[in-house]
């Protein structure tokens, strides 16, 4: 998707060219042009949704060379009219942020540091641990209040918290997997 024209307002005879200003002495035309070059003009625009509160402000995410250069409200959005709050306006720093770890990290028992680990190793190790706890704590059949054997297929050794910060599809996969593993301790931020 290219930069959408509907994000533009119509006024005056606006052009991108350098403008004649009451400059005296120096020729300002080249620098003027720089000051009026729109950084998102050649950018790609994507439909986004603000990841903060639940108003769900649609955003336009502008990118260049696989890097986000600007995030703004999508003015077409009927329930927001393209407006944002400070958090929404800061969304870009969720992506472009040097504090973001970009490697999987592991902290060994008793250690006081993180170690970088390959993703595959992490996924494998986590899966092994999930299996170990599940197998060790699994309850397949339990007596009900009235003394009948009931298949409960439950583990009370695992818990999952979150998340209201992830997508519906992700929540769906999570619920589906966790419930089938027998996880009953399953919660997210609606409870806090």
């Amino acid at each position: 998707m290219s930069l959408s024209r509907r994000d533009f307002l119509k006024f005056g005879s606006a052009t991108a060219a350098g403008v004649a200003v009451g400059s005296r002495g120096l020729d300002l035309a080249p620098v003027e042009a720089a000051a009026t070059t729109l950084k998102i003009k050649e950018a790609k625009a994507f439909h986004g949704v603000c990841p903060y509160c639940a108003v769900g402000c649609a955003q336009l995410i502008y990118t260049k060379d696989n890097r986000i250069i600007d995030i703004e409200g999508d003015p077409d959005t009927p329930h927001t009219l393209g407006r944002l709050c400070p958090k929404g306006a800061a969304t870009i720093q969720l992506s472009n942020n040097p504090l973001r770890p970009t490697k999987a990290l592991y902290r060994a028992p008793g250690s006081d540091t993180w170690e970088e680990k390959p993703l595959e190793w992490m996924w494998d190790e986590i899966a092994k641990r999930v299996k170990a706890v599940r197998d060790a704590t699994f309850v397949e059949v339990e007596k009900s209040k009235d003394g009948k054997d009931v298949v409960v297929n439950r583990t009370e050794g695992l818990a999952n918290l979150g998340s209201a910060c992830i997508d519906n599809e992700e929540c769906y996969l999570l619920t589906k997997l966790m419930r089938t593993l027998g996880v009953v301790y399953l919660e997210h931020q609606a409870r806090v």
């Binding site: 400059s23 005296r24 002495g25 120096l26």
Partner: protein, 274 residues
């Protein structure tokens, strides 16, 4: 909330030295045009003093810029109502006069002397300008006290003249040329300047009223009253009258005048930006 420009010691020195340069040049010009032959030392010292000071001023001014390499941009616009703009132009023009006068001050050719004298009368205007414009520049800001001062330029000019004269007399004293009539004349002219400055200062404070508070009360008040009014004006004047005949005392008076001139710029600049 208004903002301060962070003009600190570099600018204090610039204002101070610019005042001396302008004052010295003008004194030299007066001595050159209206004095006797015995006053030649005065004019020579005055011209020659103004040149390095003006050079120093230019360097200080450039050094204080956020982007010194763009100092020529100062000449990019000529706004006659803008003290900073014409100040930059004025400094440059005065520098030229100062250079020419200095060169010519070594000449004894009648023709050259005549040229120098005429030149110096025009140059004096720029000398005065250099001493005064810095005051007008401050008064053309929005900051309290600076923006409220109507006589800042006038005061700086008087102070510039006085410090210029004091500098000449001091150099003559140190250079051993304080024997002649010229030295006495410079001292005398300086007395007048100081009296004018003192009167202007009184009117300046009177006109400002409570707006002068950054100077007259608070942390800069001791320096203002003691350093400028006392050390810089009253004591030298008293010394002039009391110790007129003792050269060392008179020289001390000149030193104090210079100190006072520096203190004036310092307190005016720093009190508002403290």
């Amino acid at each position: 909330m208004l903002k301060i420009p962070d003009w600190e010691m570099t600018i204090v020195w610039y204002f101070f030295l610019g005042g001396i340069a302008g004052g010295a040049y003008f004194t030299a010009a007066i001595a050159d045009n209206f004095g006797s032959a015995r006053d030649r030392a005065v004019s020579k010292v005055g011209y020659l003093l103004s040149l390095p000071l003006t050079l120093a001023c230019g360097i200080l001014l450039i050094a204080d810029l956020g982007t010194p390499l763009r100092f020529l941009n100062m000449l990019g616009a000529f706004k006659f109502w803008n003290p900073m703009s014409i100040g930059a132009w004025g400094l440059g023009v005065f520098g030229l006069f100062s250079l020419l006068s200095s060169v010519l001050s070594f000449s004894t050719s009648q023709q050259m002397v005549g040229l120098r004298r005429k030149l110096s009368l025009v140059g004096s205007i720029f000398g005065f300008f250099l001493a005064a414009y810095t005051g007008v520049l401050l008064s053309a800001t929005t900051l309290p006290f600076w923006g409220d001062s109507r006589l800042m330029g006038a005061l700086f000019l008087a102070s510039g003249a006085s410090t210029g004269m004091a500098a000449i007399s001091l150099i003559m004293f140190l250079g051993g040329t304080a024997a002649g009539e010229g030295w006495g004349k410079v001292k005398k002219a300086d007395r007048y300047s100081m009296i004018i400055e003192l009167v202007l200062l009184a009117v300046f404070l009177g006109l400002l009223g409570s707006a002068a508070r950054p100077l007259t009360s608070g942390q800069f008040a001791p320096l203002f009253w003691g350093g400028l009014v006392g050390v810089g004006l009253v004591i030298p004047l008293v010394l002039e009258f009391v110790g007129q005949r003792v050269k060392a005392v008179a020289a001390l008076g000149a030193v104090l005048v210079l100190v006072g001139g520096f203190v004036l710029r310092y307190v005016v600049l720093m009190s508002v930006q403290a």
